[in-house]
């Protein structure tokens, strides 16, 4: 209970407010600025002569006749084939999320209900796997994948991303399953359920918050991945993030840098919306491992 003992002086309060506003500016302004700039022409957003052009839209007015232009978006999505990249991203994300949730819930449930020593060692191994830089794993994949001729296609990438994602999903779901009382499934077992039936009909219905959180993190991993998708997919199958990088590589063209800017905005907007919607789950997921464990 708060007895009002912790009184803050006005000076502290002002200082606190100033600090938070400064931090929020640092955290958010780059995104707002990029969003604003994506509706300008390159000569304005990357102005050689005067950065104020990005606000006054000096060149945008000359080139397009308006304050704002959506040229960068239309060109990137059509000419730049960003539609294809976003289609690939959607395919990869949907499959990675559903497969890793399926595997992860089964495995984490088993880990949380096992009293054997090996469950601990499996969790430790998962922690070590979680620490592996993705690029070191990719350097292990490339050669076998070339030999087996499964390089460059979406299914390979999906399976790899699912596997890379498993350690984190296991840890996360494990800590969620631990909060579900054991008595719940034990009583179901006594009533004659098999373990799978107890899992399917008793445990899963109360696990939705945990599953949503784990799903969100799988989604963010698949959606945001650069290392795996850039190296394991061919040009044709590139997802959004490697596509953005490919726009950077050819910035001799007048338009391409602006393509990257508009592509960044297009790729980030859905993610922000999603996080805004599921903010509570994201935070509970990040803290699940830390606070409880």
């Amino acid at each position: 209970m708060d007895y009002g003992l912790d009184t803050k002086s006005t000076r502290l309060k002002t200082f606190n407010t100033i600090f938070i506003i400064t931090w929020l500016l640092i955290a958010c302004f780059p995104f707002i600025w990029t969003f604003w700039g994506s509706f300008k022409v390159r000569a304005d957003f990357f102005s050689r002569s005067d950065w104020w052009y990005a606000i006054s839209a000096f060149n945008t007015l000359i080139e397009t006749g308006g304050q704002f232009t959506t040229n960068a978006y239309t060109q990137a999505w059509t000419e730049g084939e960003f539609w294809k990249a976003s289609k690939n991203t959607i395919i990869v994300t949907v499959f990675v999320v559903s497969i890793s949730l399926f595997l992860g819930t089964l495995g984490a449930y088993a880990l949380s209900r096992s009293t054997e020593k090996y469950a601990f060692w499996i969790l430790m191994a998962a922690l070590i796997f979680r620490a592996m830089p993705h690029i070191t794993l990719v350097s292990g994949y490339l050669f076998p994948f070339f030999e087996l001729q499964i390089w460059g296609i979406l299914p390979t990438t999906i399976v790899v991303l699912v596997a890379i994602n498993q350690p984190f999903t296991l840890w996360l779901l494990y800590s969620f399953f631990k909060t579900v009382p054991k008595e719940l499934d034990e009583s179901a077992l006594i009533d004659g359920c098999s373990y799978f039936q107890a899992f399917r009909h008793i445990i899963m219905p109360v696990m939705w918050p945990g599953v949503i959180t784990a799903g969100l993190f799988s989604l963010m991993l698949a959606y945001n991945d650069f290392t795996v998708t850039a190296l394991l997919l061919n040009q044709e199958n590139h997802t959004m993030v490697p596509k953005i990088q490919s726009y950077l590589g050819t910035n001799q063209h007048e338009g391409n840098l602006m393509w990257a800017v508009s592509a960044v905005v297009s790729a980030t907007a859905p993610l922000f919306m999603l996080v805004m919607f599921f903010q509570r789950q994201v935070i509970s997921g990040l803290t699940a491992g830390a606070v409880k464990g």
């Binding site: 708060d2 979680r130 994201v282």
Partner: protein, 342 residues
């Protein structure tokens, strides 16, 4: 749960992890002992009315034949590990014998690609991790003091840098601090130096990437600390207030000890993530002055002529050893706890 049931429940995820995390590590280990084939050369005699010349050209047919027969390359033992691009044993010996002062020796060693990357990676970890902990903690304390009603949107704003992918995050910053961007251009005006830019100085590049790292990782520390702060009991704090403890003393003696396990957790995770720093180097196009271990591997794998599997694998193995050294204290501690708990 009986062992048999456990096995069937765990089989799918276990198989996925063994096949795509365990095996690749072994595959990397094997690849690191092989090196790509040398190109087969042949002498070609070319005659024209002015006489004959003998030139040496690459025999593409023969080369591809050998490559096909032995795609893994030729066996190289620890050769790749000790060559100039990795541990550079010979070069270091040479520098040691030839250079006069220790300073020059260190200078020369740190110019070798592997050591250069190692030093950048370690510097990045060393500067980013503590600052992330500090900034995350301060933001958490500060947000914890504002009215509950407006916390939601504030938290959303705070976690934005964390949820975008590092490549996008670094690009968004790069476009601002580039010499043609809003911040870069203004700094040029302030300093009155039209040539001042990120790419012109190695130190500036390093500082920028480190600042980016703090910007990107602090929200994670914030979220975890913020959640931990909610669990701090109020009674001891009130007792401390009555006893006349200052705000700083309360944080130092009550709040920090309470959230200490969480601090080690955040430190561990952010150390692991920082050690693999790689995307910001591409985002800031800083390859010239900042290279990390992960970037070295990437560079070998996207090599134009022939993919340097062996070289990439050797760097990968050494990165994994680095990770193992970082993780060792934690693993040993967990194991001791586990043993005493039994």
């Amino acid at each position: 749960m009986p062992n048999k049931t456990f096995f069937w429940f765990f089989l799918p995820t276990g198989l996925a992890m063994i096949l795509f995390i365990g095996l690749p590590i072994i595959s990397t280990g094997i690849q690191s002992f092989y090196a790509q084939h040398d190109q087969v050369v042949k002498e070609v005699k070319k005659c024209d009315p002015f006489g004959c010349t003998v030139s040496i050209v690459v025999d593409n047919e023969e080369t591809s034949k050998i490559r096909e027969a032995k795609p893994l390359g030729k066996f190289n033992g620890f050769g790749t590990y000790t060559d100039r691009n990795h541990l550079a044993v010979d070069e270091i010996k040479k520098f040691w014998n030839e250079t006069e002062s220790f300073g020059v020796f260190v200078d020369q060693v740190t110019n070798l690609p592997f050591y250069k990357a190692l030093i950048f990676t370690l510097t990045y970890c060393l500067f980013v991790t503590p600052n992330v902990l500090l900034l995350g903690f301060i933001i958490a304390l500060s947000l914890n003091a504002v009215a509950r009603k407006i916390r939601g949107p504030l938290i959303f704003g705070t976690i934005l840098p964390m949820i975008v992918t590092p490549l996008v995050g670094s690009l968004v910053l790069f476009w601002m601090i580039d010499s043609q961007g809003i911040i870069g251009a203004n700094i040029q005006n302030l300093m009155n130096d039209p040539y001042l830019s990120l790419k012109s100085s190695k130190t500036l590049t390093w500082i920028t990437i480190i600042i980016y790292g703090i910007w990107h990782h602090s929200p994670f520390a914030f979220v975890v600390f913020y959640a931990a702060l909610q669990t701090v009991p109020q009674e001891p704090i009130e007792a401390a207030i009555i006893d006349g403890a200052s705000r700083f003393q309360r944080i130092k003696h009550i709040v920090l000890p309470h959230i200490y396990p969480v601090v080690t957790f955040v430190a561990l995770i952010s150390l692991m993530d920082n050690f693999r720093v790689f995307e910001p180097i591409i985002g800031f196009s800083a390859e010239g002055s900042a290279q990390s271990l992960s970037w070295l591997i990437y560079d070998n794998l996207v090599n134009e002529e022939v993919i340097l599997f062996g070289s990439a694998a050797a760097t990968s193995m050494m990165t994994i050893i680095g990770i193992a050294i970082l993780l060792a204290p934690v693993l040993i501690r967990t194991w001791k706890e586990f043993k005493t708990a039994r």
